[in-house]
Subunit: 319 residues, 2 copies
DNA sequence: TTGTAAGCGTTATCAG
DNA sequence: CTGATAACGCTTACAA
């Protein structure tokens, strides 16, 4: 594997001149530069990125700390991040769990985007102390070198529920996700606020876990009830889909007997019957925005605070 | 940011002793080691991974070259890769397009897994010349430092179609993907072979593009035909889902009038009505196997050839 | 058991 | 415009 030395020798110049030429510095004589370029090509030489990183103290890597690749929305956010980083010649390094700490500790990344509920606030704040910027997407967190952008869960759910109340629905239920999930709690807040503002004092509450399975179980449970809710708002689409499947099996008509809505606008939501009313976030665009903000901080030390990602209520057939 | 020097100074030893201690070499006196560890903790010191990599000529990174994160199966394969790499303290570096070349050229990864139809065979063979092992998943490719593992498209489709013929179906159609797609062509081969072995000489052929949209268009086209096929085998689930949606809109009963099957067993396939018969690959397990094989080559120089990933015909309601 | 010193392959300062 | 040379922060003979 050729090094800069080999190129220098072949071109008959010093290694510093080779470095200048390769980095397009203006101080190299055109002819010398040509000789160097020819030599590099002949040797099929590429600079060793590791050595460059050591010297320049930058890696060109942005970490993306996730819990796992499973789940329908990660891939969209990741795709947006990937696009933007690639446009700027940065690499995307995905990790999870303790590997994420390693990357920061060992300075293998210039910054990171965090989407991993498995990491506690303390841990993140501690990470940020290393001086590397962290952009957190799954919670609100402030601190030195920590920035965050979260979905406007509360506002969007408020909007949807208000709209449904205006359409005449009164008897609501909320199908929750894990009670410690940031998204779940804020969605519930929006739900409650909408009812309150319209003077609806009563609602049912079901405990789910954001999975199809969990939604299915609740659907079966509701089927057996005599006092069925007229509208079940589900904290995410997956639980809504499970719920609907259970209701369908019990021959409960959607939306005629029970209306349903979710959150996320996952791919599936448009292809089930009836099509699911939900709240859509432009995840890919969000990923691009966040990546762009991180790059601004890393490259220009310019802090860009992005607000909520774009979101909208999408009315379909399920209510 | 503290370096090994700072630790050495604080502990009152030389930097080499610090290095030995940190790497758990057996030649350090317990008391010295304790002093060093304490110093490291006090300074909140972590070794600089870049410097280590430069010295040891290993990065601990495995590249995963993909076309993009979109698409239902990538995330499953990636999840398997992630799991296995993490278990072995390797990082997963995802890239696409020209960034992939950079990672190899600049030796920022120790090896790579390729799942990117955008890279031609030539390019891959050229990459492998750099001495880094490449594991290719989206085509069959042989060469120095190149290994591949592909789905048994032909065998699995053969199995499904044969089973359907045994169930009494005779009048088949094939809904294809892009004609230059490796997967598509081998699936078609399996389809053809099954018909041939059962002496069925005629079938219809429709050109799709592996998307829901494309399948939908073909579904509309078929609806207008007088000589409708009795069974449409679709090269992947997404086109099958589009097809089914079009048929449903045209009030053609599935499977009573037209039966449908696909390939991939994507998440959606189980949640549409009717549930889609398809061929399932254990993508996550595949990812784990491939990652494991790459690690074997990188770490032990031991070549592990893995066969096809596990796959099975999954009969559901659509036929 | 510990220390000295030579690199790994670059970039960047400074002198020529 | 070009070349010596000193880092960058670590690992690893080799010496003590």
């Amino acid at each position: 594997m050729p090094t800069i030395k080999d190129v220098a020798k072949l071109a008959g110049v010093s290694i510093s001149t080779v470095s200048y030429a390769l980095n397009n510095q203006p101080n190299v004589h055109p002819e010398t530069k040509k000789r160097i370029m020819d030599a590099a090509r002949e040797l099929n030489y590429y600079p060793n990125g590791i050595a460059r990183n050591l010297k320049t103290k930058r890696t060109g890597n942005i970490g993306v700390f996730i819990y796992g690749f499973a789940g329908p929305i990660f891939s969209d956010v990741l795709e947006g991040i990937r696009q933007k980083l690639q446009e700027n010649n940065f690499n995307i390094v995905v990790s999870s769990g303790k590997s994420s700490a390693n990357l920061l500790n060992e300075r293998q990344v210039d910054g990171a985007i965090v989407f991993d509920g498995g990491l506690t606030d303390d841990v993140l704040i501690n990470y940020a102390k290393h001086g590397l910027p962290l952009y957190v997407l799954d919670r609100e967190l402030k601190g030195e070198n920590i920035y965050s952008s979260v979905i406007d869960n509360e506002g969007l759910v408020y909007q949807l529920i208000t709209q449904m109340i205006n359409n005449g629905y009164r008897d609501f239920a909320y199908l929750s996700g894990p009670s410690d999930a940031f998204n779940n709690n804020h969605r519930y807040d929006g739900f409650l606020q909408a009812l309150k503002d319209k003077d609806i004092t009563h609602h049912q509450f079901f405990k789910g876990d954001f999975t199809i399975h969990g939604g299915y179980a609740v659907g079966k449970e509701i089927s057996k009830q005599t006092n069925k809710p007229r509208f079940v708002y589900c904290g995410n689409d997956e639980s809504a889909i499970g719920l609907m499947q259970a209701l369908r099996e019990e021959h409960i008509k959607i939306p005629q007997e029970i209306a349903v809505a979710g959150f996320d606008n996952i791919y599936l939501s448009e292809y089930i019957t009836p099509k699911l009313t939900t709240i859509g976030i432009d995840h890919t665009e969000w990923g691009r925005q966040v990546a762009s903000a991180v790059l601004d901080i890393v490259q220009l030390k310019k802090i860009k605070n992005i607000g909520h990602p774009k979101g909208e209520v999408i009315i379909r057939e399920s209510c």
